[in-house]
């Protein structure tokens, strides 16, 4: 699965994108964020308050409770500030 990061999530993790193999048991966005947070201090810094980050599944906004099975690209980013 491809993960892409934007703004301060990208900066703190130190990557714009990466391919990951998800372990068994990762069903929802929430599971994914919890798992990512444990991958190292950079991920921990980016996801200190996982409830505030936003997620897009294949370029559509998704809730944290949404299942991620079948997704090709999941984006993680701060609340948007365009406009």
């Amino acid at each position: 699965m491809k993960l892409v990061y934007f703004a301060w999530v990208r900066e703190r993790i130190g990557l714009t994108e990466e391919e990951v193999e998800l372990p068994a048991g990762i069903v929802t966005v929430e599971d994914l964020l919890h798992w990512l947070k444990g991958r190292g201090p950079n991920y921990d810094a980016a996801l200190q308050a996982p409830e505030i980050v936003r997620v897009a599944i294949d370029q559509e906004h998704g809730d944290h409770s949404e299942p991620i099975a079948g997704a090709r690209e999941i984006a993680i980013f701060p609340p948007m500030t365009g406009g």
Binding site: F6, E60, G82, G83
Partner: protein, 161 residues
């Protein structure tokens, strides 16, 4: 050509670009051809923040940005009887006084154009994947601009209306 009642007679136009926006040319491009009685435009500019700001840097999610704006514009076109809709958002470095975003909606009567343009902007703020960071005149790169609760509230009100 058959159309369901909710399907608008036109396609909203959407653009995500690093270039300047030529407001006069964009307004010309909305030419209603005699049917439109009302055109509302919104232009969002980069403020100078009292002289502190050198530029705003706009990061975006290519692909999703266009898709999200198109979705927002299609919702506006389904909700109001519009004759035209245009939404343009810039990315990259934007200097104070330059335009960041431009929205235009035309309709037979003014109410629909005002509401649709306001709706478009509220959802551009909260649903389009763009993020602003400040570059300061002292040469430092400031923090990422924080999302405002007032923007969330502004977009939420359309669910209640």
């Amino acid at each position: 050509m058959t159309a369901t009642p909710l399907e608008p007679a036109f396609s909203p136009r959407v653009r995500v670009t690093a270039e300047r926006i030529d407001i006069a040319a964009e307004i010309d491009s909305m030419g209603g051809g005699g049917a439109a009685g009302a055109l509302v435009t919104f232009c969002g500019y980069c403020r100078d923040e009292g002289g502190r700001l050198k530029a705003l840097e706009l990061e975006h999610y290519p692909g999703m940005a266009e898709r999200q704006i198109a979705t927002i514009a299609a919702r506006a076109a389904a909700r109001w009887p519009l004759l035209g809709a245009l939404a343009i958002h810039r990315y990259g470095l934007v200097a104070p006084g330059e335009e960041i975003v431009f929205v235009a909606c035309s309709s037979v009567h003014r109410g629909a154009a005002f509401e649709a343009a306001s709706f478009l902007m509220d959802f551009m703020k909260t649903r389009a994947p763009f993020w602003k960071r400040e570059h300061l005149v002292d040469g430092t790169v400031g923090g990422w601009v924080e999302a405002k609760d007032t923007d969330e509230a502004a977009s939420d009100r359309w669910h209640r209306l």
